[in-house]
Symmetry: C2
Subunit: 124 residues, 2 copies
């Protein structure tokens, strides 16, 4: 199980350029695997901190994304949360080659099903 | 990862009396483990069908419940969905000793953290 975070900074969506395969070099939402003994909310706040330097808190649950084909490595389910930044400063972490701020309404092609997650977050 | 379904029949919440430990004999929301290759939504519709005989469709995502202590067998995360019955008829399946229809606003003590799930579903 994985988590992904949607955070705006200066009205731009925070994404990270993937350092590793799959989807190496593409922008992705910050996120990663839930560790044993943590809640999904703790996991997304930790992953966003590690990958972007931002301290965040949850605004709302965006959705559960569980299409078996969403990750070429195998069947993962991602829980996506909208977060707001409450501290820290943007700095790419070890899994991320760079931070990329994108237009949330017209994002570039992203890794996994992250474009679908962004569409769900922005709403109809 | 597990899924749980919240379904009303005649304005009562459909629960199943657990046949097995943990929480044997207690009412629980119908649900169970997500199988490889199915979406969480497919899983909850399947589990509700197997345990209650009802055909359902999703109304909305209620929440993600991931407290590490929610299941004494180990760390599970449950995705809870509100569903509506669209067919079938109530009949206890193999994992359930009986169907119990409960007052959704004053349910009895339930297995796992299912009372918390019901509270979240009913709202503030």
């Amino acid at each position: 199980m994985t988590v992904d975070g949607l955070v705006l900074v200066d009205a731009k969506l925070v994404t990270v350029r993937r350092r590793n395969d799959p989807f190496r070099g593409m922008p992705a939402l910050p996120g990663g695997f839930v560790e044993l003994g943590e809640t999904t909310l703790e996991a997304v706040v930790r992953e966003v901190r590690e990958e972007t330097g931002l301290e965040t808190r949850m605004v709302r649950l965006v959705g559960v994304f569980s299409d078996p084909d969403r990750d070429p490595r195998g069947h993962t389910v991602s829980i996506a949360y909208a977060l707001e930044a409450i501290g820290g400063r943007l700095k790419a972490g070890s899994d991320a080659a760079a931070i990329i701020l994108v237009d949330p309404d017209e994002p570039p092609k992203m890794a996994f099903d992250h474009n679908a997650i962004v569409r769900k977050w922005r709403g109809p």
